[in-house]
């Protein structure tokens, strides 16, 4: 396949970026999207040009590192996958593919397609933990009975890999889906109830401080989330937050 690429190039955080055109020949449908970028980078290096910087790590849809906006959608056109799971068979010969970094003021571009997603880390640090006795008498979590429905919902929320696709897809650059998943994974379990009130208040406060937008319930985040995190989590976070704030 012949593919025309339009890729955001930006030297560093303080430089102004621009879209640069590249043409790729001999692209196979079985190649992953990141392999295609690897080939492009090898070509650029062989020409003495600076390769394109992009985030990647596990390349099996678990780490949440790969964060590309592909043809106007985070992680590309296919649902429930990350960029590393996207294959070139999803595109046709002669297609033009626009590749940009995830855009949000809370995710500043570091270089080319790499953005700084430490805002998510700070939200996690604000409340993404539980009180567990680790002094040698730790109670096995499996010995605590948990309602099946709650266990499933907590597990589904915990499947969030913090990739930032929710922020990238949201027209408001809101981080509510991410934050609500992190709130929910604890709020639904007995171990998480101990700090539930402080957790939701602290995480929402940090989310607001980071400069993410407000959720307007468009549902775009849920559609684009590679792990299928549900909007139900945002409603739960709203409930938890309002309840905690009213109780003081």
């Amino acid at each position: 396949m012949k593919i025309y690429l339009k890729i955001w190039r930006q030297k560093d955080a303080s430089s102004k970026g621009k879209i640069v055109d590249y043409t790729m020949n001999g692209i196979e449908g079985d190649m992953s999207f990141l392999e295609m970028l690897d080939i492009l980078n090898e070509d650029l290096i062989s020409k003495g040009e600076v390769p394109i910087e992009f985030d990647h790590d596990c390349r099996e849809g678990i780490c949440g590192s790969c964060s590309l906006q592909i043809n106007g959608r985070p992680h590309g056109p296919d649902r429930l996958i990350t960029v590393c799971q996207l294959h070139m068979r999803s595109f046709k010969d002669g297609d033009t593919i626009v590749i940009e970094p995830f855009r949000a003021n809370a995710f500043p571009v570091i270089k080319d397609l790499i953005v700084d997603r430490n805002a998510f880390e700070r939200i996690q640090q604000a409340g993404g933990f539980i009180s567990v006795n680790t002094s040698g008498r730790t109670v096995d979590a499996n010995s605590i009975p948990i309602r099946k429905e709650n266990a499933d919902k907590a597990f589904n929320a915990a499947a969030c890999i913090g990739c930032g696709a929710c922020v990238a897809a949201c027209k408001n650059a809101s981080a509510m889906l991410f934050t609500s998943a992190k709130v929910s994974q604890f709020a639904l379990l007995p171990q998480g109830r101990i700090e539930a009130a402080e957790r939701v208040q602290n995480m929402v406060r940090q989310m607001d401080l980071e400069g993410f937008g407000n959720c307007t319930n468009t549902g775009a985040c849920e559609i684009e989330c590679p792990k299928g995190i549900s909007l139900e989590n945002i409603a739960r976070m709203n409930r938890e937050y309002l309840g905690a704030s009213i109780k003081g």
Binding site: G72, R73, A173, G213, N238, Y241, S245
Partner: protein, 222 residues
Amino acid sequence: MSSLIKSSIARKLVMALSGLFLVLFLALHVTINLTSVISPDTFNQWSHFMGYNGLVQYIMQPVLIIGVIVHFVMGIVLEFQNMQARSIKYTKFKGAANAPWVSRNMIITGLVVLAFLGLHFYDFWIHEMTYKYIEANPEDPTRYYTETVEKFAPMWRTLLYVVSFGLLSLHLWHGFASSFQSMGLNNKYTPSIKSFTKIYAVVIPLVFVFIAIYHHLNPITH
């Protein structure tokens, strides 16, 4: 409590509660308006009651005006904050791939409804205030039907009503069910709430439009 007031979730809650209040008011408004088609006398009685009852005039009316102002001011504040959250826009953004137009453009439909409310206030509220408090006219329980029907005589005003209520329908289509999500309600009743929202968003504006067209086509002949 102080952190609640400043939080994004509280802003969503304010939008939801004020929006739901306005949704309820629409049901009352359309019910009274519908009597103008069924029974002019009943319409006059209701309108006179609404225009001169102390509870309606001095408590419900100010609450309604505050509700409208809060909803629109908060909507505009949220829109500005959301625009600031992404100062560098995407070269290509496929918003339609993951969210319907109505959900993504509440500010557009909302501003059209706001502009319509300006005309509506000029047509009815300013007129009423002038009649009662500036000109100090005596009470006349029989004038409302005639005044209302005459308002729909010009084609442009009737058309403006049709377009505005079309946009209100789109606004309700997203906003009604969305307010429950903002209040933290997403459970087994959500599909029913979404279905009811769609019915409400179509039926209520459609009845308003029907009333406007009916009066335009059936003018009072002196």
